[in-house]
C-alpha cells in the first residue's frame, strides 16, 4: 500500500500574507460591490450574521422570489406587485426607532446598532394573511421583549403602540389624490403579547436585510395573528396604559379588530377564514389546493393561554 503523499502546492498559488490577513475586508468589499451592482429596489440587501433558533416550523419555505414580490404594503400601492415595483426610492438607512411612553429609560435606537447589540436569530414562521393566503418565511430578527427590556417598561404600562414612517416623497401610496388608508399606519399589542418570545422584530429574511417591500429596515412579526398586525418600517414604539388603535380597525371596525388572532372559526364578514391558499406552490395543477387554517395559525400551544377566558368571537 502506497503511503499518502500530500499534494505539492506551488509557491505561485500561495496567497500573499497581506491579502490573507485582509481577507475579511476583501469579502466585505466584494459583497458591497455585488449589492451595488444589483441596484434598484434591491440596493440595500446585505448579508446578516444569523444564529439558529428553536422556532422553526417544519414546512416547505415559500420561495424568496414570492416573499419579496407578493406584498401588502399600501404605502407603496394597493396591488400585490406595487411594493416591489415602487419602493426603489425608499431609504431604509440611516434609521432610528424612538421607544417612549411609560418606560423608565426612553431612548432612540439606531437600526445598525440594534443589529450589533442583539443576536439576529433565524425563525421560520407561518404567515397568514387576513385575505386567506399564507406563506412560510425564514425571518431574521430579535424578540421585541429584548428591546422592551432595554427601556424598562413601568408597571403601569399595559399596551405597546407602533407607528410606521410617513414619507410621501419616497412612498407613492402615501401621496396623490387617492388615499386608501390614513397615515401613519399604526398597530398595537397587549404588553404580554408584545413580550411573548414568539413576537419578533424582523430586520431581515432569507439571511439578508429586509427588502424595502417587506418593511425595511425593521418590522413586527406576530405569527399567531393576521399579517396586518405585522407593522412595517417602524419609527416609533410607545408603551401606554390605553388600548392603542390599529389602522385596519379604524378603517373598518366591523371587519377588523384589535386582536386579529388567526381563527378558522371566526370568519371575516365577507369571506371564510376556515381555509387558506399557500403562496408560491407553482401553477394551477402543481399547487396543493386549499389547506385548513389552524387556530392561532398553529401556535395555539404557545399562545392560547394568553387569551384564557376571553370570548374570541367578540375579541376578533
Amino acid at each position: 500500500m502506497a503511503a499518502y503523499r500530500p499534494p505539492r502546492i506551488p509557491a505561485s498559488e500561495i496567497t500573499p500574507q497581506p491579502i490573507y490577513l485582509n481577507r475579511r475586508n476583501f469579502l466585505g468589499a466584494a459583497t458591497l460591490a455585488g449589492a451595488a451592482m444589483l441596484g434598484g429596489a434591491q440596493a440595500a440587501a446585505a448579508a446578516l450574521a444569523v444564529v439558529p433558533s428553536r422556532y422553526k416550523v417544519d414546512e416547505k419555505l415559500t420561495p424568496q422570489k414570492d416573499v419579496t414580490t407578493y406584498n401588502n404594503f399600501y404605502e407603496f400601492g394597493l396591488d400585490k406587485g406595487d411594493p416591489a415595483a415602487l419602493s426603489g426610492d425608499f431609504k431604509p438607512r440611516p434609521w432610528t426607532i424612538a421607544v417612549d411612553g411609560m418606560v423608565g429609560k426612553p431612548g432612540t435606537f439606531d437600526i445598525d446598532q440594534l443589529i450589533k447589540d442583539f443576536p439576529i436569530e433565524e425563525r421560520v414562521y407561518r404567515m397568514r394573511c387576513v385575505e386567506a393566503w399564507s406563506m412560510v418565511i425564514p425571518w431574521n430578527g430579535f424578540p421585541l421583549a429584548a428591546l422592551l427590556d432595554k427601556v424598562e417598561p413601568l408597571g403601569s404600562a399595559k399596551y405597546v403602540a407602533f407607528e410606521t414612517v410617513v414619507r410621501p416623497e419616497e412612498m407613492p401610496g402615501q401621496g396623490g389624490y387617492f388615499q386608501s388608508l390614513s397615515w401613519p399606519y399604526i398597530e398595537g399589542l397587549r404588553l404580554d403579547e408584545a413580550r411573548h418570545p414568539l413576537t419578533l422584530l424582523a430586520v431581515g429574511l432569507y439571511g439578508e436585510t429586509l427588502p424595502n417591500q417587506n418593511g425595511a429596515p425593521i418590522r413586527l412579526v406576530v405569527p399567531w395573528k393576521y399579517g396586518f398586525k405585522g407593522i412595517k418600517s417602524i419609527v416609533r414604539i410607545t408603551l401606554t396604559d390605553q388600548q392603542p388603535k390599529n389602522t385596519w380597525q379604524v378603517t373598518n371596525p366591523q371587519e377588523y379588530g384589535f386582536y386579529a388572532n388567526v381563527n378558522p372559526e371566526v370568519d371575516h364578514p365577507r369571506w371564510s377564514q376556515a381555509t387558506e391558499r399557500r403562496i408560491g406552490e407553482g401553477g394551477f395543477f402543481s399547487s396543493g389546493g386549499r389547506r385548513p387554517t389552524l387556530p392561532f395559525n398553529g401556535y395555539a400551544d404557545e399562545v392560547a393561554s394568553l387569551y384564557a377566558g376571553m370570548d374570541l368571537r367578540a375579541n376578533y
Binding site: L78, E131, R270, S272, G283
Partner: protein, 215 residues
C-alpha cells in the same frame, strides 16, 4: 361620421370579436398552467376573469348610449359582447369552484349562503343564464316583446356585478371606483334616456311644424 365596415366583412368581424375576446382567458390559462402567473396564480386568474366579465358587461351596456350620443351603431356586436360577458362570468365561477375552493363543495355552498359578496356574484351569474340561452334569432322571434322585457335583466345583473366587485377587497381601489363608476353612469343613462328622447322628438316636431308653416 361613423366608420362603416363593408357589408361582406361584417359577419367575419363578429367572429373575430369572439376570438379576440376569448384570448385573454386562453393566454392567462396557459401562463397559470405553466407557473408563469405570479405567486398566487389561481387568485390572479380568478381576478382576471372577473375583470374581463365587467369589461364586456360595460361594453355591452355602452352600445346604446354610443349610438344615441355618438352616432356609432355597434348593435351588430352587442350579442357577442353580452355572450362574452356570460362566458367570462362562467369561467370566473368555474375557477372559484374548481381551482380555488375544490374539493370543498360544501364550503362553496356555505360561502354562497352566508356571504352577500358571493351571493351577489352568484345571483348575477344565474340571471345571465336565461339571457345567454335566448341570445339567438329564433328566441327573439318567438318571445317577441317579452324578449326585450327579459333582457332588461342585464340592468340588475350589472348592479349585482358592481356590488360583488366592490365587496371583494379590503378597501376600494381606484380601479374599482372606475369600473363601478362606469356601471353606475351606464345604468343612470337608462333613467334619463326617455327624457332625452322626448326632448329630441319635441324638437323634431317643432321643426316639422315650422317647416309646415313655411310651406
Amino acid at each position: 361620421m361613423a366608420p362603416v365596415l363593408p357589408k361582406r366583412w361584417q359577419p367575419a368581424s363578429v367572429w373575430l370579436l369572439y376570438i379576440v375576446g376569448l384570448l385573454p382567458a386562453a393566454w392567462s390559462f396557459y401562463l397559470g398552467a405553466t407557473d408563469d402567473l405570479g405567486a398566487d396564480p389561481v387568485k390572479s386568474f380568478e381576478l382576471l376573469l372577473g375583470l374581463w366579465t365587467l369589461r364586456f358587461l360595460i361594453a355591452t351596456l355602452a352600445v346604446s348610449p354610443f349610438r344615441d350620443l355618438a352616432g356609432w351603431n355597434l348593435i351588430r356586436y352587442r350579442r357577442a359582447l353580452g355572450l362574452l360577458t356570460f362566458y367570462y362570468a362562467l369561467m370566473h365561477f368555474s375557477v372559484y369552484a374548481i381551482l380555488d375552493q375544490a374539493p370543498m363543495f360544501n364550503a362553496i355552498l356555505a360561502d354562497v349562503l352566508k356571504r352577500p359578496f358571493i351571493m351577489f356574484g352568484m345571483a348575477a351569474l344565474l340571471l345571465l343564464i336565461p339571457l345567454a340561452i335566448t341570445s339567438n334569432m329564433a328566441s327573439i322571434r318567438r318571445l317577441g316583446k317579452n324578449w326585450i322585457r327579459l333582457h332588461r335583466l342585464i340592468y340588475p345583473i350589472a348592479a349585482l356585478g358592481a356590488l360583488h366587485f366592490a365587496l371583494s377587497t379590503k378597501v376600494l381601489t381606484l380601479e374599482q371606483y372606475v369600473y363601478i363608476g362606469l356601471i353606475v353612469v351606464l345604468l343612470l343613462y337608462r333613467g334619463v334616456r326617455p327624457i332625452l328622447r322626448a326632448r329630441k322628438n319635441e324638437r323634431k316636431n317643432l321643426r316639422a311644424q315650422a317647416t309646415e308653416r313655411i310651406a
